[in-house]
Amino acid sequence: MQAVYPLTFAALLFCVGVYGVLARRNAVLVLMSVELMLSAVTINLVTFGQIAGDAVLTGQAFALFVLAIGAAEVGVGLGIILLLYRNRATVNIDDADLMKY
């Protein structure tokens, strides 16, 4: 079954993303890790779309939506990080604890 390769790859990529989100201290890297997770999801969508083989290519079409939303999310996320940097002169995510009790 050829689909096992892309799915395994996507799972590994997702795990890398999760690791990046949880372990990295640099906000830009956290954001990039989120993008990795999104990419993993996109690969899964394309793969399952191929397996299902429907005529209108639902999976592939949704992959395009995810890419578009990912681009928007990066835009917003980078904006937040930029403001964070301007206000605190750092992008260390541990320092951004305004929501602490």
């Binding site: 999760v18 949880l22 995510i93 951004a96 604890d97 009790y101």
Partner: protein, 675 residues
């Protein structure tokens, strides 16, 4: 029906009393105009109501004479049930409009209107002018409440309210101890009678389980008590005699009449309104109200006749030796009240007709005496004399009032007193004969003391100080207006067959069978005899007083021991104050009462107070502070504490949140996979 709105008649003076009390001094006339407007409106309403009621009664009489025996006398009774606040006693707030009530409305509102107009002149410049008009309105309301009530409970409330107003008005000039003493005496003496009234009302309630006058009357007429048991006549007689004790106190009958002459300490308009025309007739009104019940007890009726007869003669004699003109009128009032009370024993119509006519001419006489006092600044006839020339209006109206009181035909008092004597003649028996003899002699005495007063006041030379002058217009006009009914009102009840079905007797009947059973009769020899006796009194008075002698030469005051007995009022006051009050009440009884008060009642009150204090403290300490406050505080503390525990979840670390998210998703995924 207009009588549906009769509740407005007492309501208007009640509102005006309230308005005067709260805002009286802000009005341009200091509240007098409010009282006068309210009572004038009430008087108009009373006239309209009376036209309806009297017309219906006359129509009922005509219907019966045309053979329609289903016709009934007018009665409009309606009530608000106050059971939710009255407990199980069936207390109502209701009106009972019949001929008697309509007549009383007319009398009370008309005299009250005249007296209030008069007071604007008489009380002018008094420091408590507004307060005076408030009390007059309050009194008018109370009296009308007494009249309108459809149950004995309301009658009792009105009865006590008029007593309070009387007390306040007798002691109106309380700066002088004599006046406040008179007020206390009046209050306590009538209160003694009121005990009887309360006992009587409670006894009637016990017998009939209702305060409603109509229900009591129909029960008695059916001869049953509550629950259909046969009527206990002995108990009924007891109840009626105790009720009559209330009437004896309020209507100043022997032996509780002593307060009324002292009550003249109040302002003269008050004497006219309360102590001549209206409040003192409350006892007569009460008997008339319960007339069918009184008819069921011959014993009570006999007692009424005897007490009334004694009173009328005894008070008439006392009027002979008075120097104070108001006291002459006061004793004359007591005497006339005796006529009314005694008359009720034989004839319902005679009693209330005399009440009606007497209200007008006695109010006129009192207002006239007020006009005299206003002019000479003294109550004493020894300070008057020769006032005919300077005070013509007062003189002529006073003469009209006097001849009406002395029962000279054709003035009002003649017709009503003739009705009384004719009733006594028709009633017969020893009580009837007693009233007949004493009433005839009393009529002569009445004519004599009024002649004496007239000559002492108006004839001869002026013996007082300063220059007397006629009173202001506000005081003259009420005299003139009152002189009209004093002269003419007797014609509404001519004792002839042709006038009977459309006259006063028909207007005010309480029951058509009673009306039909008491046809008009004019006993020529009786009317002639009573007129002759009155004229004899007049001639004797004229012979003795034509020269208007001074006090030292007054024949009435130079009769040796007889004068002494009369001047000391038969020593009744001494009996009350010295024997009863001083020896019994003030020493033994007072000490015993004090001991009881100090050792028993105070102790109980004290212990109750301490107990209440302890209970309160315990409640505060345990229930409030520990229980309720503890629970409230506990809620707050536990919320604070649990919040302190879970606040650590809010670390502010984004990666901690993300980790939690992943763990959560993983757990859910696992659960779904297992499921």
């Amino acid at each position: 029906m207009i009588s549906d709105y009769a509740w407005l008649i007492p309501a208007l003076p009640a509102v005006s009393a309230l308005v005067i009390m709260l805002f009286g001094k802000r009005f341009p006339k200091h509240g007098a105009e409010v009282g006068i407007a309210a009572v004038a409106a009430a008087a108009l309403l009373a006239i309209v109501t009376a036209i309806e009621v009297f017309g219906a009664n006359v129509a009922a009489v005509a219907a019966v004479e045309h053979g329609d025996h289903a016709a009934r006398s007018f009665l409009n009774e309606r009530a608000l049930n106050l059971t939710p606040i009255g407990g199980g006693f069936g207390i109502e707030a209701g009106i009972r409009i019949d001929g008697l009530a309509a007549m009383m409305f007319l009398l009370v509102t008309f005299v009250s209107l005249m007296v209030q107009v008069y007071s604007t002149g008489y009380m002018h410049g008094d420091p408590r002018y507004t307060y005076f008009f408030m009390l007059l309105s309050l009194f008018t309301f109370s009296m009308l409440l007494l009249v309108i009530g459809n149950n004995l409970f309301m009658v009792l409330v009105g009865w006590e309210l008029v007593g309070v107003c009387s007390y306040l008005l007798i002691g109106f000039w309380w700066e002088e101890k004599q006046n406040s003493d008179a007020a206390i005496k009046a209050f306590l003496t009538t209160k003694f009678g009121d005990i009887g009234l309360v006992v009587g009302i409670v006894t009637l309630w016990g017998m009939f389980r209702t305060f409603n006058i109509g229900e009591i009357i129909s029960s008695v007429e059916a001869g049953t008590q509550a629950g259909g048991a046969p009527l206990e006549t002995g108990l009924l007689t007891f109840a009626l005699l105790t009720l009559f004790l209330g009437a004896v106190g309020k209507s100043a009958q022997f032996p509780l009449h002593t307060w009324l002459p002292d009550a003249m300490a109040g302002p003269t308009p008050v004497s006219a309104l309360i102590h001549a025309a209206t409040m003192v007739t409350a006892g007569i009104f009460l008997i008339a109200r319960l007339y069918p019940v009184f008819q069921a007890s011959p014993t009570a009726m006999a007692v009424i006749a005897v007490i009334g007869s004694i009173t009328l003669l005894m008070a008439g004699l006392l009027a002979l030796v008075q120097d104070d003109v108001k006291r002459v009128l006061a004793y004359s009032t007591v005497s006339q009240l005796g006529y009314m009370i005694a008359a009720l024993s034989f004839s319902y119509t005679a009693g209330i007709f005399h009440l009606f006519t007497h209200g007008f001419f006695k109010a006129l006489l009192f207002l006239g005496s007020g006009s005299l006092i206003h002019a000479v600044h003294s109550n004493n006839m020894s300070d008057m004399g020769g006032l005919r020339k300077p005070m013509p209006v007062t003189f002529w109206t006073f003469v009209i009032g006097s001849v009406a009181l002395a029962a000279i035909p054709p003035f009002a008092g003649f017709w009503s007193k003739d009705e009384v004597l004719a009733g006594a003649l028709g009633g017969g028996g020893y009580t009837g004969n007693l009233l007949l003899v004493l009433g005839g002699v009393g009529g002569m005495i009445t004519a004599f003391y009024m002649t004496r007063a007239l000559y002492l006041v108006f004839a001869g030379e002026y013996r007082g100080h300063g220059h007397p002058h006629e009173s202001p217009a506000a005081m003259r006009w009420p005299l003139v207006v009152l002189a009209v009914p004093a002269a003419l009102i007797g014609f509404i009840n001519l004792p002839f067959e042709f006038a009977h079905p459309t006259g006063f007797a028909a207007w005010t009947m309480f029951d058509i069978e009673y009306f039909e059973g008491h046809p008009a009769e004019f006993v020529v020899w009786l009317a002639g005899l009573s007129t002759a006796l009155a004229l004899l009194g007049f001639v004797a008075g004229r012979a003795l007083y034509r020269t208007s002698p001074s006090l030292a030469k007054d024949p009435m005051l130079n009769m040796g021991p007889l004068t002494m007995v009369l001047e000391n009022r038969y020593y009744l006051d001494n009996l009350y104050t010295d024997l009863i009050v001083r020896t019994v009440v003030r020493t033994k009884l007072a000490n015993a009462a004090y001991w009881l008060n100090d050792h028993v009642i105070d102790r109980i009150v004290f212990l109750a107070g301490v107990g209440a204090n302890r209970l309160g403290k315990a409640t505060y300490d345990y229930a409030d502070q520990k229980g309720i406050d503890g629970a409230v505080n506990g809620l707050g503390v536990s919320a604070n504490w649990s919040g302190g525990l879970i606040k650590f979840a809010q670390s502010g670390n984004v990666q901690f949140y993300a980790g939690a998210l992943f763990v959560g998703v993983f757990v859910f995924a696992l659960l779904f996979a297992v499921a």
